[in-house]
């Protein structure tokens, strides 16, 4: 298949073409790049929802239940329109190389929720062998056989930010293919795997009881990127402690809208203390999003309707405050910067005389020059000794 056939197949809902395009894009091939260029005008419609959190908090199970919840609701709500959410139609173009044009039933209906769901599940690549075990599908067997759900597993292939460097491009292809909601599950993330916040409109951070004390909750990193906080496995003991630690951390971050109302007069060591009135910020309630903290049990679906509602609310909030556009711009800027970097490095390596890089490395190891001097020599002189 040529890239035009591939891209056309993606737009028409051909699942094999979609799967193959995703591989080409993931492998960074020429075919993948040109398919992406054809598909790019059709992107920008999907709601991208990231799901991150430590290993074993139940991300995969939660993603499974969330997708299941949306699909059940859609099947229950929409009658005859089921399965007809994408109507592809080639606008006749008699000119040579006719441009591809697709007419779609207009985007996701507000309130009706997403109809077609894609899941991108990322697992780590071994730094030693380059291999990977991608096991997120194990928890997603409930979704098998649903033609409106597409699940793709990805390995990080050396990226350290919790997703692969090609995840953004893979998501674009799924967006162009007409999936309204794309759930992106990161690798089991610790504290600094925060790339997902740049990719997704809405980031869900999943915690579970018993994974750390309240100092974990005030460290920088993963909690800062949460738009929705989920305490999964809420049937386990200790859920109150986890929730309290998260709430305490949030109150520090959003003092103007305390999640727990505090009295402004209280007794302290027998003395009456008064808290001065907080300066009221009139538009704070409109622009500030305070991440809700929700309890779920992914195994039986408890708390899923509330989670779906929080995701929808966040979307509405983004659209009302201009956050949707801002996030998109941030994402595209990140992508553009990365591509420029890659192109420059590739060009630089191509121009480098054979052996110059190895020579520089040798010089550095023998302590003849410092790494900074080596870079100067390589970049300025394109490998020539100055």
């Amino acid at each position: 298949m040529t890239e035009r056939d591939l891209a056309q197949g993606v737009l028409e809902g051909d699942r094999l073409a979609l799967a193959r395009t995703l591989s080409q894009v993931e492998n960074g091939t020429v075919e993948g790049k040109s398919a992406l260029s054809v598909l790019f005008p059709f992107t920008g419609k999907a709601h991208l929802v990231g799901v991150t959190g430590a290993s074993g908090t139940g991300k995969s199970s939660l993603v499974n239940q969330l997708a299941l919840y949306y699909r059940k609701r859609t099947k229950g709500a929409s009658g005859p329109a089921k399965g007809a959410s994408i109507s592809a139609e080639r606008v006749s173009g008699p000119a040579k190389g006719a441009s591809i044009s697709v007419e779609r039933a207009s985007g996701p209906l507000q309130g009706a929720g997403p109809r077609r769901i894609a899941i991108v599940a990322v697992d780590p690549t071994s730094p030693f062998t380059g291999g990977a075990i991608l096991g997120d599908r194990i928890r997603m067997r409930d979704l098998a056989g649903d033609p409106e759900v597409f699940i793709r597993s990805m390995a990080t292939r050396g990226s350290l930010g919790g997703i692969a460097s090609s995840t953004a491009a893979v998501v674009q292809v799924l967006d162009a293919a007409g999936y309204d909601l794309i759930l992106i599950e990161t690798v089991g993330a610790g504290q600094s795997e925060v790339d997902i916040a740049r990719l997704a409109h809405t980031t869900i951070v999943v915690e579970a009881p018993g994974l750390g004390d309240d100092i974990q909750a005030i460290k920088a990193g993963i909690l800062e990127i949460a738009d929705v906080l989920v305490v999964n496995k809420a049937d386990l003991p200790g859920v109150e402690n986890t929730e309290r630690a998260l709430r305490g951390s949030l109150n520090l971050a959003h003092p103007l809208r305390l999640a727990i109302p505090m009295p402004n007069r209280f007794m302290h060591h027998g003395k009456l203390e008064m808290v001065p009135d907080q300066p009221s910020v009139p538009d704070a309630s409109e622009t500030l999003w305070v991440p809700p903290i929700l309890r779920t049990v992914a195994l039986d679906g408890m708390g899923l309707p509330e989670l779906a509602e929080a995701i929808a609310k966040h979307r509405t909030h983004l659209e009302a405050t201009g956050g949707w556009k801002r996030k998109e711009r941030w994402r595209l800027q990140t992508e553009l910067d990365l591509l420029i970097q890659n192109a420059l490095v590739e060009g630089f390596r191509l121009r480098l005389p054979a052996g110059a890089y190895e020579q520089a490395l040798e010089d550095v190891q023998e302590r003849r020059i410092s790494p900074n001097q080596a870079v100067e020599k390589l970049v300025n002189g394109t490998g020539k000794v100055t």
């Binding site: 071994s126 067997r141 056989g145």
Partner: protein, 135 residues
């Protein structure tokens, strides 16, 4: 990165619940630098073919200890073909009686690896079959 990774789906069709062998194979393929999608227990042929399609895999490994291989394997092969994935290589592990081996190979299975098989054997077979198909 433009190097092509070999992607393999490892699945356990049917009702037996012993997945030790499947996990060992998954791990060996991972150590050989492949990306292994592991789907877990009790998969139907439909689920396996669907996962193979969505993941655009190069090979599918089936672990069957229930004795139902003569029913399950042809069904998986047929569904792969229906989906346009006839180029996907299928290999087997588990308990397969000797007399069934020629029949299965004739259907298009590239190899049958019972208990005791060295991991190098199937790693090399899979890699060679995929390389030959893409050449």
């Amino acid at each position: 990165m433009s190097d092509r990774k070999i992607r393999v789906l490892i699945a356990k069709p049917g009702l037996d619940g012993h997945d030790r062998g499947a996990k060992v194979v998954a791990r060996a393929l991972r150590d050989a630098g492949m990306e292994v999608i592991y789907t877990g227990l009790r998969q139907t042929p439909e689920m396996i073919a669907e996962a193979a399609l969505q993941e655009d895999v190069d090979a599918v490994g089936l672990s069957i200890l229930s004795g139902a291989h003569m029913a399950l394997v042809p069904r998986v092969l047929e569904l792969l073909k229906v989906n346009g994935q006839e180029r996907v290589k299928v290999f087997l592990g588990g308990i397969v009686p000797d007399e069934d081996v020629p029949l299965l190979l004739k259907m298009g299975v590239i190899g049958i690896y019972g208990p005791g098989t060295l991991s190098d054997t199937y790693v090399n077979d899979i890699r060679n079959a995929i390389m030959a198909a893409n050449a």
